[in-house]
Amino acid sequence: MSVNITFLVITGVLLACGFYLVLERTLTRVLLGIMLLGNGINLLILTTGGRRGIAPLFKPEIAAEEYSDPLPQALILTAIVITFAVTAFLLAMIYRSWTLTSADELADDTEDIKVSQKTAYDEEEDSPVAEDTTEFVDEEGRPVREGEE
């Protein structure tokens, strides 16, 4: 199979930029990254179809090798629709995030921060046992412990 090297280079650049942007904290950049990733992948699928050919509408007199491969195109169509839906959803979510926090950045998880600030000392498990743990008391109400009369 012959491969179009230009397509592959463009795919590589799109994917690299996409992954870089996705790692950002700013949500709009993440969105742009996801759109680049989607396009890069679509281009990659297109290259898998091999060399160009005529539209795959079956005519008996044309040899099978003349047609272009229709399957990657069908796959891309599905992938485009899915990317479109996800992009729309993300846009709505980013807008909602902006109305809630007036920031375009992903906030830290409060529960995560709490856990990371916790020390190894656990009050419930590590604190010294209080003196009067016994439930038995003598006539005057003083606690009775093992070995004492």
């Binding site: 996800v86 992903l106 709490k114």
Partner: protein, 533 residues
């Protein structure tokens, strides 16, 4: 006509139901009836499917009559129908839970009551992913379930859920991108995306390209299945969602990834080239996950960490790859789906009963809510792997297979597995001791309401004295009934019972799993069912 020709209905019914439920969005009652009715129908259908393939048949359906490898095929074999049945069973229980919670809260309608339609679409996606015998159809199944899960995770769009949802969406999209990349490369290398056809053609490739394609698929599925180091998104995003949503996610979504990994390792790349990598990933998933669980004070977060941790056992089983190991993995998947879902449902009940799922604020629940403590205790020790429960049986099967394997690396992972099991028990017991056993007054941040209720129950018990010892219990039951609607309690209880049933009927179920594993490893039934001879 074969009964199994009806299998596509497992996908079609929920989608039609979702449409109908969306049309009925103004009539809450109708919507609820539609969703529950559809799920019951699907459950019956899938029970029929499991019965039909119980003896070990594989049956392929060619959609639209297009023969493989050109058309889209669906595969009904023991593995896919077992997963379908368990997933629908669990979703039905969670649906009752959610419905009952909604009923009790008076169903304040949001802008659009989107829960029921999104829930059905999620299930359609899960079913499609299980049935798919075509990599691209598997991708579509994943996308259907992911898109529905985005909606469910961000229900209500509060600040916390939007934050968690953003991470979840971005990670899921990236995993889908990696999956698509793998599909594109596989198509370029072999000229097909049909899994049976791939099973024949992939081994003909050179070692190098094979390894790249294999690892690419595993990375894509590893993100979805939450395998360390690709698991850290999960405990971050799951706990913020509403209780029923977290419960159903915990049960189903990661297992779809595990299902795909099992298929990859048994059908597409059966040589076990990345065995060592999988072993290391399994050990790290187990240990890192459970250490995370020990650090948490929130029950839902703790459970999310045990969820990722126990995925390690499944990956371990796949890595060993002997028939016994695969059989134990399949059994363990069933156990894990049921137990994790019931624990998340119980966490929802605790949150509702005591106003928080943070252990620092809880206490006295064993006195205040005896039924709830029983509902927590059974799945909890089941998760911890205490005999005779299914968690023990699954782990025993896995370790037995590992010991037969007798390879130094396997022994290390066995050690990690045992350590994880022990630490799971520790994590669970800590929650048990704090939430249920200690007095509410001893909590770090005592909850005034719980303290007062505990005091009044103690007074009642004292008043009953020796003549009427059940007086305090009666008050506790009344208090429990006030805060927890019966539907929520009974749906959770039914899932706990399902977990016990998995233990009681472990014999026939495990034999079934062994037949399925033999089929998976033989590969031949799958391939010849799909490809015309």
């Amino acid at each position: 006509m074969n009964f199994l020709d009806l299998a596509p209905l497992a996908v079609v019914l929920p989608i039609i139901g979702a449409g109908a439920a969306f049309l009925a969005r103004r009539q809450v009652r109708t919507q609820r009836l539609i969703t529950i009715g559809i799920l019951c129908l699907t459950l019956l259908l899938e029970a029929g499917m499991v019965a039909a393939v119980w003896g070990g048949e594989s049956y392929a359906i060619h959609i639209g009559g297009w023969e493989s490898p050109f058309g889209i095929a669906l595969m009904v074999d023991g593995f896919s129908s077992f997963m379908l049945l368990i997933s629908t069973l669990v979703s039905l229980a969670v649906l009752f839970f959610a419905t009952s919670q909604g009923l009790a809260d008076g169903d304040e309608p949001g802008p659009v009551s989107v829960f029921h339609p999104a829930y059905l679409i999620l299930l359609a996606g899960v079913s499609n992913a299980f049935l798919a015998a075509d990599l691209f159809n598997l991708y579509v199944g994943f996308e259907i379930l992911l898109t529905a899960s985005y909606v469910l995770l961000t229900l209500g769009a509060t600040a916390e859920r939007i934050r968690a949802g953003t991470t979840y969406v971005v990670v899921s999209v990236v995993s889908s991108v990696v999956f698509l990349m793998a599909i594109a490369m596989i198509y370029a290398a072999t000229g097909t995306v049909n899994m049976a056809d791939l099973a024949v053609k992939l081994p003909q490739l050179d070692q190098g390209p094979q390894l790249i394609l294999h690892v690419l698929l595993l990375i894509a599925f590893g993100i979805k299945a939450a395998v360390f180091p690709l698991s850290l998104w999960l405990p971050d995003s799951y706990p913020t969602a509403p209780a029923p949503v977290t419960a159903v996610f915990a049960g189903l979504l990661t297992k779809v990834g595990v299902y795909a990994i099992v298929r990859t390792e048994t059908l597409l790349f059966p040589g076990g080239e990345v065995r060592a990598g999988l072993m290391v990933a399994a050990a790290l998933t187990m240990v890192v996950g459970i250490l995370g669980a020990l650090a948490q004070t929130d029950i839902k977060r703790m459970l999310s960490f045990t969820l990722t941790s126990h995925i390690g056992y499944l990956i371990f089983g796949v890595a060993i790859g002997t028939p016994l190991a695969i059989a134990a993995t399949i059994y363990y998947v069933g156990h894990h789906i049921i137990v994790q879902t019931s624990l998340f449902m119980v966490a929802g009940l605790i949150e509702r009963r005591a106003g928080s799922s943070n252990v620092t604020k809880l206490g006295s629940l064993a006195k205040l809510s005896p039924a709830l403590s029983l509902l927590f205790f059974i799945p909890a020790i089941n998760l911890g792997g205490i005999p005779p429960f299914s968690g023990f049986l699954g782990k025993f099967g896995l370790l037995h297979a590992a010991v037969q394997d007798a390879d130094p690396l396997t022994w290390i992972v066995v050690g990690a597995g045992l350590l994880t099991s022990l630490l799971t028990l520790l994590a669970i017991i800590r929650v048990w001791a704090r939430v249920f056993w200690r007095r509410a007054t001893d909590a770090e941040v005592p909850n005034q309401e719980l303290v007062e209720q505990a005091a009044s129950v103690a007074i009642e018990t004292a008043a009953g004295g020796a003549q009427n010892p059940a007086l305090g219990l009666k008050l506790a039951k009344e208090l429990e009934a006030d805060s927890l609607p019966w539907g929520m309690r009974y749906s959770t209880a039914s899932l706990v019972v399902a977990g016990i049933a998995l233990t009681v009927f472990a014999g026939p179920i495990f034999e079934f799993c062994e037949r399925v594993a033999a089929e998976l490893i033989a590969r031949e039934p799958y391939i010849s069912a799909i490809l015309p001879l």
